[in-house]
Symmetry: D2
Subunit: 340 residues, 4 copies
């Protein structure tokens, strides 16, 4: 059994990693840490994890591989020594996602370990399988960016779209984490929709970077606005783009064929037959994409949906971990979405 350590198991991302690894046939959770909860059993913090019967520690014991669920900044700082020693790491934070450190620092302040950024592979297995397999540091994707990248990658790689892309995202509130805040207070968030990110959002350059790498043209210009919607888990991205100048729009049927082909080997990305719902992915490692071309307005409209703690977070990270360690890519991830 591979011995995995989870840093900050007490956040939602860490807890979700623990939940799914509990059922992983080739991995054992050997050690977990949690900021303010050290000394308690994990079941005292999260009753649904009681069966794990793990004590939360200040520091990790020796492990074969690490998943970090720390917030940005703290994660890079804590991981740096491990990375330098060559311990395989999946970082669920945003610290190592952007090749251009200045883009990181625009949103996140000074990077704690910029010298390690070049070691990182962006954790979208369907685009970077071999680099992940050969790497030691996975910078797991953001949740919005995952949904956007899965929705748009086939279109962009095929060179079919104009570089002006609109990404309208609707996100469940667990993506904002477990720390209490006024706008996440039940009475405020329930029965409401609220947009945010008007001064820029740190996941916008993630989308730009990853889509930009798929074609030779300059990186796309992505307009990105996320919205809080009153669900716990789930992100839906609605992406809008015009056909590239001089290229006709691709009718929906052909577009679907293109997507089917692009994701032919991807167990966890499925081209949906009809408009998908976030709930079709809850608690699973699946992403559903639904590509269409609107003949009337001449625009591509593509939906991408996934669980922000799942394929866009902890379970997506476990998929990367599997690849990095040479385990079967789907191990521990076969669980279907909880519906209804």
């Amino acid at each position: 059994m591979v011995r995995v350590g989870i840093i900050n198991v007490t956040g939602y991302m860490g807890a979700e990693a623990a939940r799914v690894l509990y059922g992983h046939p080739e991995v054992e959770i050997a050690s977990v840490t949690g900021r303010s909860e050290a000394g308690r059993n994990i079941g005292d913090v999260y009753p649904h994890l009681t069966a794990l019967d793990l004590d939360i520690q200040e520091d990790l014991d020796d492990v074969d591989v690490i998943i970090s669920a720390l917030p940005h900044g703290a994660s890079a700082e804590r991981l740096a020594p491990y990375i330098e020693q060559g311990v395989p790491v999946v970082d669920l934070s945003s610290d190592f996602r952007l090749k251009d450190v200045s883009q990181y620092e625009r949103f996140r302040g000074k990077h704690p370990a910029p010298h390690l950024v070049e070691k990182a592979v962006f954790g979208i297995p369907e685009l970077h399988h071999d680099e992940i397999a050969n790497g030691k540091l996975v910078a797991n994707t953001g949740c919005h960016s995952a949904a956007a990248i899965y929705a748009l990658a086939p279109l962009v790689q095929a060179g079919l779209v104009d570089s002006n892309i609109i990404v309208d995202s609707k996100t469940g509130l667990s993506g904002a984490g477990r720390s209490v805040k006024q706008n996440l207070h039940f009475s405020e968030a329930n029965e409401s929709v609220t947009p945010y990110g008007f001064d820029g959002h740190y996941q916008q350059p993630e989308i730009t970077q990853e889509l930009g790498a798929l074609w030779e043209a300059p990186p796309p210009k992505v307009t990105f606005i996320p919205h809080l919607v009153p669900v716990t888990r789930g992100i839906m991205v609605t992406a809008y783009a015009a056909p590239r100048d001089g290229v006709d729009g691709t009718p929906t049927d052909n577009l679907r064929a293109l997507y089917e082909d692009f994701y032919a080997d991807a167990t966890f990305v499925r081209v949906s037959d009809g408009p998908p719902s976030t709930k079709h992915t809850a608690g699973s490692n699946y992403c559903l994409v639904f590509p269409t071309f609107d003949e009337e307005s001449g625009r591509y409209i593509v939906i991408g949906t996934l669980d922000n703690l799942g394929k866009g977070g902890a379970t997506g990270g476990v998929q990367c971990l599997n690849i990095m360690l040479g385990l079967p890519e789907t191990a521990g991830l076969e669980g279907l979405a909880l519906y209804p």
Copy 2:
């Protein structure tokens, strides 16, 4: 007291009209009808309306003005004789909204009374005050189209934008009405986001018509996708548009000034200081707009939010009724949103 009749008081739109008219100082609900509930007291169908103590009838008694909350098709058919007799009518259905009957028929099938369409005024009081005051037939706005029109009218009238406009809408489920359907079943809709309208949506031409009337250019080309979100009341439109060719983008501060000016006399449309929430409008006749210009992507991003049964429905209809009858425009509509 003006005697009003409500046709189909048993739908959500009709019930909301009744709720707000109960507190109207110059209007009395004289007669109500409801399709399958005739003979029952309104409080038996809607306990919250018990205080009205009205019997639901097959047909309206004589009244001074009519609000119809029937579904499309049935509404025009039922209203035609009243309109022909010159009874003032506010139609909450979509039957008389579109000047171009072929656009209506594309989505709704054969129009039951196309000869009456020219008599109708589109029920957005902030754009059509005088026509409403002088008219006898208000075709009350759609809920999505209201939010989109309020969000975009100042930009379009000022000629600042390109004609390619994206309207991404998130709607509460009461907009789909009281009739039970699988996708409105609690266990399916709760904790989920689902897009629809990929084959076109009947409110898209409403937006096109109303915005098109605000400039001399050809009508804008509107890409419109609505999404079901698990709230009962509330619509949020996020509109995206590029500056018109050859015109610089207007910075957010100036844009806000433009909007403040445009809505200076509008009691119920407010330029929000920060990103608004649907819940800030629930149960009220207010619409909040939040205009921004994203310098990085060079796109206008404008939010419009309202209660789909409120400003985008029944209370907006009461505002039109007030204007049409020469009553104070805000009478009966002063109620503030229910928050939290």
Copy 3:
């Protein structure tokens, strides 16, 4: 116009008092305070209250009557000088509800102004109309206790029940206030039901006191457990009691007649024809009661439901204010529930 001051308008109770008083025909909100928000306009804190256009102050200006929405302890402390000066006060906190200060101190710690307790009238207008009319200090009811008292008062007063009463309450989360807490965090509270109060709950003696005053027997022994349910507004109490020894159970039809009679003059307490829903009362000053006798188990089962910020809170407080000031009892309170 009567000039009212609201202390702590920034909590949910204070904001709801402001919302409803905005439409009150004989009262003007003259001055409002809020702990940490002094200096801001109320619309900056609560966008739905923008139309009030009031600055939040440190201290109240001179007013004719005060509503306090401070938390317990702070409320009595702040109100004491006003009460001593004879300013009429409606206290929405629990500070002056219990005649037996030791019961208060059991849950709340040292009472800041025990000498004023005897001046207070418990704010259930249907039981204490004349004392409220003649008093200067209303200790407005608790939200759970209101629902329980309305549900049980007719049964208890008629001497029909045994003194062992079970009160199972389900409450929306706005009752826990605006301050953020882990168990009120959307992702934790949503899609969940959680009981609390196993070490006792401060509203249990409120129920005991008020029901005990309705008969000559010793006070009833009330077992009380509240549960958080994922709604914003609304409380439902399900009360269970056996017939008093030697007294036959009263069949449901007779029981309903007893309740109809008891509440014959109560505008805002209605005997529901069928099992009521919390949502039938949201945003209103109505309480619905539904009394039944279960022949099979020989138990009375009575439902009481209301909006915890409404009849069980701020609007109930406004009703008391009306009575205390000699205004029409229903002034400003005619608004019907927001449904759906």
Copy 4:
């Protein structure tokens, strides 16, 4: 691999059985039926089950064991020939739960196969392990009754309580099934709590029967009222009972020890350290119980909570299936609850 057939896979219970059996190491779903959906692939009805890639049939192929998720009445009728042939069956409906057919017929109308009732074992594995192991027909427990029985069995078996027991249940809406109904319409059910069952509820005699079998006294007299709460999955029962005449109340600490002992060998029933939440069990086969004694009122208050489609439904049924077939009792059921 054991070949299982699921009858009526298109209801929520059937779909949940399919979801969990997909991950079962020793069982293969060989054949599924669904009333109106025959001919479609299961992924067309339930996108989250796409990976199963099963065609929905009119009739089952030959299988080793059957799970029926048909509604009551239809289930017994369809199962009768299989039972008569000796095919092992887990019936998730209520058809074979009650030994006293007249109690069944009181709520459900004429029983389609009363001669088979005596063959059935009530599907609570913690009470009936050996009968299930030796039987061929499991009448899987009801969802409310499961929560009530787990909450009360230790108290009743120990003879500690009076026979007058109050069971107040709060249930998520998936328990009412997938068929659309007005009271399950999102806009009606959301943000609301509604009690039902005032004329009796068919699960009340299930509770009475199972608890009654645990002591020598006459069966307890159970007062049972369920409430709809706006969650999809989850039931919480709050049970109230007085100590038996002449027996002192058992303090909470001792009570907990009693429960720990009673459930010492039960993998899936856990005595909770603090007040549990329904959400701690969502999507899992766990039941949490929380026994307390309220010294002040002299009443036992015990919480039982589980997922109505989980331990109180489909996964509980799979546990019975495992026992009946001699498979490891926990096979396929190790999945932890989805939280948050």
